[in-house]
Amino acid sequence: MEVVYTATQEPPIVFMKGIVKRFPGVIANDHVDFEVKAGEIHALLGENGAGKTTLMYILYGIYQADEGQIYIKGEPVEIKSPRDAIRHGIGMVHQHFKLVYRHTVAENVALGFARSFINPIEEVRRKILEFSERYGLKVNPDARIWELSAGEQQRVEIIKALYGGAEVLILDEPTSVLTPSETRELFKTLKEMKAENKAIIFITHKLDEVFEVSDRVTVLRKGKVVSTLKTSETNKRELARLMVGREVLFRLERKPVETGEVLLKVENLTVLNDRGLPAVKGVSFTIRAGEILGIAGVAGNGQRELVEAITGLRKVESGRIICMGKDVTNCSPRVIAMLGMAHIPEERIRLGIAPGMSVAENLILKSYHAKPFSGMLMLNWGVIRETAEKLVKEYDIMTPSINTPAKLLSGGNIQRLILARELSGGARVIVAAHPTYGLDVGATEYIRKLLLKQRERGCGILLVSEDLEEVLNLSDRIAVMFEGEFMGIVKPEEASIEEIGLMMAGTMRLDAERHTKRGDL
């Protein structure tokens, strides 16, 4: 993409040329050329680890490129820090928001931008309201951040960028925390901004979003630009192939399976969150052998507390949990695990592994205390190593050796390690929380297939996921969770995405009649 801009041609607002960024052992960006024009929404598409965020961190001054040059409006510039980037009119909304939770919206915006030394809040508040009006960014400047939903917090981040005078706005996977309706509102805002000749860079790995909102799309794979295309001139299949490097199956085959006995029964479960407020409010459901119950919903509606209560990590306030005919309410995690419940935890690094310990040691995290891995007192290293070698091969865990510390593995391989550990013990009930979150398309496909295989084997699976596509694809029944309650249990083939979206937002609840008709409560 060697471009020479003549006097008659307006240079793009951002042009990154030949960007190279090396990290120990990997080239995150390998001679990347990337340009964005004013008045366009440009999607940056790629799998996890393709180098999207790295490239944008370079543009935003968080990283410095090892090679290459950035041009803003045709002028070569050096961006050494986010401060430089802001001065050049670049703003970024990070995937994880950078807000002070106890402060108000106006205070957060004022932080770092206010020009006047003495009480700038009035001016800031006026500006916030102005932006709200202009771009449909509804937010109360006096609300405290912790009172806001994820969508509203994201709006604050966008306002912050606009306040800094951004003409180029980078959004890093902005929809990952939003409900479908919030996503629609965000897209509307982005289009308003585009109409005002702002440039928007939209990082994503979701193909549908590319088509919904972008004018052009640049596909990155393994640090290299594969292609830059006009969105109107491409299709989903082509983009998927460019992104992954091979054909991808969008629909996994879910074979009909005869459901068996009830493996997990939850009755009227109430669980408190860390602040002592009810997070799960009287939830009931059953899962039979050979069945996947998906739980859809925006994060923070009680899913985490539900999973922790079922797996024994959180105290049950009232109600009962019956696993394979045994009452396991408030039993210890070990008792429940020994009974045959596998748990694929939500935050795999925080909960799922001991990062400094070896792959082999992590593979026995749940079973180290039992035969054949240990005796009365001593660990049986021979068996442990043998098992580890076998599991690494069977689950295709990419690791230099079984003695490598688990933290050196990639996210996808850490998840494979956890799956290997949890599924190899012959569990009959599997509680999987966000099993593919943050993983690339290849690893995602592998893990979903594995879950379907367990279903065919006669396991009962509770699948909690924010990825609606995943829930719809894998589940036999879907429960939508909102503010600690089930808004309804539906069959995927009977429910529309809109319906589920409305339930996720809490605006629709299936009545009891339909409840009993559709879900076998």
Binding site: P345, L377, M378, W381
Partner: protein, 351 residues
């Protein structure tokens, strides 16, 4: 040109030990500046320290004498630190161990094969008990153990002071704040010609081997390491946190208590103030310098034992103040802790 830190791909054990000893070397350089500022030729001072601690058989035997309590405390701390329990209370646990042994030595007449094991046992139990309160508070209520263990050091110190000035003051000691001398049966045998009370040394070496096996070969050791690596993962794996914390603290305190027994029964033959020149604190450096590896801890206890001996020598021969050795230790610890970053990051100079 700028200096940048980049995350390392691997953190090897060899590197970790190497960095510790590099930082020790840099610390010695920093101390050299202090010597020089004090008007002492650093080369002369270090020469005296080295020759004093390692240059003669007698000097080396004194180094071992100091290494014994450092080793016992240091091994215990290694265990606690592995579980990410910051026991700063080895000093107090040592003193309480000494008090317990003294109580037995002064009140029980029995042959040495009865009384000595009893004294060791009492020392272990007392040290363990002294660490129990912080352990329970930590595991049950999440009370910061750095503060509780540290504060208990002062309580132990004051208890010793009360005993030697009060009820335990020996009637034949001319009013000095000493207890009576222990009967010969309650004194530990020494290697002839030295002050090395070898039974304590043997216990220390056994502790090294036992800790190594415990950490690497047993279920309990596995649990300790998981707790230290990731407490949430430990809960997820069904590991009993309370049990693990109690265990490491009891063993940690118990070993420090045994060190205290060694000091009163092997060196002083009585309880008095100042039986420990801060062994419990220096042991923190021993454990850290040892990279929480029992075998390396054995080496680092001898090294720091040597520094203590050398410190005594330069105090007397070069007229340095008593505080010099504390400054010495403090600088070493600061350097070693600062070196932690080098284990995880490498320095790169960019244009």
């Amino acid at each position: 040109m700028r200096i940048r830190l980049e995350k390392r791909e691997y953190e090897s054990k060899l590197l970790s030990v190497g960095v510790s000893f590099l930082m020790l070397f840099l610390a010695l350089l920093a101390v050299a500046i202090i010597f020089w500022a004090y008007g002492v030729n650093p080369a002369v001072a270090y020469g005296k320290i080295f020759r004093g601690a390692f240059g003669s058989l007698y000097g080396f035997s004194e180094t071992i004498v100091k290494a014994i309590p450092l080793l016992l405390c240091g091994i215990g701390l290694t265990l606690a630190f592995k579980a990410l329990i910051w026991n700063i209370g080895a000093e107090g646990q040592l003193l309480i161990g000494a008090v317990a042994a003294t109580g037995i030595a002064l009140n029980l007449a029995a042959p040495s094969y009865v009384i000595l094991p009893l004294m060791f046992a009492a020392g272990f139990v007392a040290g363990a008990a002294w660490s129990l309160l912080p352990a329970i508070l930590k595991a049950k209520l999440n009370v910061n153990e750095v503060i509780t263990t540290l504060m208990l050091n002062y309580i132990a110190l004051k208890l010793v002071e009360y005993l030697v000035y009060g009820p335990w003051r020996g009637p034949e000691e001319w009013g000095f704040p000493y207890t009576s001398k222990f009967p010969p049966e309650a004194r530990l045998p020494r290697i002839p010609g030295t002050r090395i009370h070898y039974p304590t040394l043997i216990i220390g070496v056994i502790a090294v081997v036992a800790t190594y096996i415990l950490l690497n070969k047993t279920k309990i050791g596995y649990e300790i390491r998981v707790v230290g690596e990731n407490i949430d993962a430990a809960r997820y794996a069904g590991i009993n946190y309370l049990k693990t914390v109690l265990l490491v603290m009891v063993v940690s305190g118990g070993l420090a208590g045994i060190a205290g027994v060694g000091e009163v029964a092997g060196i002083q033959h009585r309880l008095r103030m100042g039986i420990s020149p801060g062994y419990g604190y220096t042991a923190i450096i021993v454990a850290w310098l040892g990279g929480l590896n029992p075998w390396v801890t054995l080496a680092s206890s001898i090294l720091l034992g040597g520094l203590l001996v050398g410190g005594d020598i330069i105090q007397t021969s070069l007229g340095l103040p008593v505080a010099a050795i504390d400054i010495f230790n403090g600088i070493i610890l600061i350097f070693i802790i600062a070196g932690e970053i080098l284990k995880r990051y490498k320095i790169r100079i960019v244009r």
